[in-house]
Point group: C2
Chain length 309, copies 2
């Protein structure tokens, strides 16, 4: 049974900041910690917009699998919004969430009419194609696929992203697993910058929980999104006489449930968050930094500091 | 006399790809190569939208200087759109533009109702705050301020960005001038990734054309945007008893025309462009790469290659 998403018209229609925060908090707390499976999509008259330019129209187009790449636009039929962004498969019930996770949840809820509020920019470092001795920055738009919560308390709230194993991200992240994500919310004029290390879940990853998460993510994809992992090698020159049918391959029955070798899951373990609120007066910037744990390799509590914008 | 911007309702209302391209090209060519000073803002009934969620409402709020940082939201009263994105101060009349500049112009024109279509993500590399021996990626949202065109033919179509001299971008770009920009257009589902080197125009830069460009950019800012360059040091901890008036300083008369020392202009000299069109079927990806020139240090022609998406 797929995870459906709950869109609360209350959260969408309230515009005043203070009121929204007051209204949103209990609702978010309830939906964030509640198991989200089997919640039916709530059709609501508040969701109707007149024009083809509306965010809702965009979101629906994306949801029904209008297509896209591994990075952008491969929307799942059930989008990760504030209500189900936290993967409940390992039971986050009642656990205390870091403040940045709660803040990000509120921002997602307040911007969830914009399909592109789930589009984030992932920056990595790697070597240039022209000069392999010079390290360079790379950045591309990807889709936020929700949070991964593992069994270990240290394994909570990892950001999920999917990618093609043939993408340039893979060698870059293999050599340099540090990444930064820029996430801008247009409606509420907020930016989050999330820094952390990226774990690549490949077909050969041994951890069975991670493999289960990779498989679940594959199952969440639409047919057209899956097909893209069977396309010809990305960024290789297109032969002029390329058969267009290679871009609409039939999915073999074996791939209906088991992901192909090209399908990878990326998990971003966040260690620092810079939250900038441009709508506040004066503007507000808050830095959330994860302290080092007492034991070697262990992570500590989160430290929250207000800084000048 | 400030540069006003022209919004052509024809370009906004036509949605079909082929028609838009056909209609847009001559209009764009005309507006791109024509001097854009003294063109009055064209009020149009096509620009009216009912809801507070509309892109137009957002754009107007930004234009009247609702505020923002050096990076995001410091919108100028005259926004760089397709019609005036190319700075005509050094006369680009009649010059042949690279294909990526034309393509980007069309994308800007087709998305110009969304104020955030000018928001781009700038990625750089630098050292981490916790471990200064490890190189890390950084990315933030900034506003595209139009193109800079210098006197030299090699100095055309440099992307303009403004920044505070106290920003972390400055030491990062000083040590590693390579950058990548991700630019996603929501309406037309296109992504441009622009790679290149960044020149920092500081208050002490000797080139008089660059200083003139920096001053012109300062003059284009709203009062509230200028005030932000007089704010306390960015990202330093906010004292709890901070006087809020430090975030709304009076601009001294001397700064009305001369930019303060904190105000820098960044110019991105693009050498590679990856243009991904997710709306096309099958999706299209085109790589534009600048060849090396025949002489040492000189830049050559642009090579355009269709590659697999």
């Amino acid at each position: 049974m797929p995870v459906h998403f709950l869109r609360n018209p209350l959260l969408c229609s309230v515009s005043h900041t203070a009121t929204t925060l007051l209204c949103a908090l209990p609702v978010l707390r309830a939906t964030f910690v509640a198991p989200v499976r089997n919640i039916a999509f709530l059709h609501s008259p508040f969701n109707r917009f007149p024009s083809s330019l509306t965010p809702m129209a965009t979101m629906k187009a994306a949801e029904i699998g209008e297509g896209g790449l591994a990075d952008i636009g491969q929307a799942r039929s059930s989008s990760p919004t504030a209500s189900n962004a936290d993967d409940a498969s390992h039971g986050a019930r009642g656990e205390k969430k870091p403040k940045w996770v709660l803040d990000l949840g509120i921002s997602m809820a307040r911007n969830n009419r914009d399909a592109h509020s789930r589009y984030i920019q992932l920056a990595t470092v790697g070597f240039g194609s022209d000069d392999s001795s010079v390290i360079k920055p790379f950045v591309r738009t990807v889709v936020f696929r929700g949070f991964y919560n593992g069994m270990d308390p240290q394994d909570k709230h990892l950001l999920k992203i999917i990618t093609d194993a043939r993408s340039e991200k893979i060698p870059q992240l293999t050599l340099h697993p540090d990444a930064e994500i820029a996430w801008y919310f247009v409606k509420t004029r907020e930016q989050y910058r999330l820094r952390g290390r990226v774990e690549i879940v490949t077909p050969t990853s041994k951890d069975r929980h991670l493999q289960a998460a990779r498989k679940q993510q594959w199952n969440n994809l639409s047919e057209s999104a899956r097909a893209q992992f069977l396309w010809p090698y990305p960024k290789h020159p297109s032969p002029l006489d390329q058969d267009p049918s290679v871009f609409s391959p039939d999915i073999p029955p074996t791939l209906a449930s088991a992901p192909p070798e090209t399908f990878c899951l990326l998990l971003v373990r966040v260690s620092e968050v810079d939250h900038l609120d441009l709508k506040a007066s004066p503007q507000r910037r808050t830095v959330h930094a994860r302290r080092k744990g007492q034991k070697e390799g262990e992570e500590g509590d989160w430290e929250v500091t207000k800084v000048n914008p």
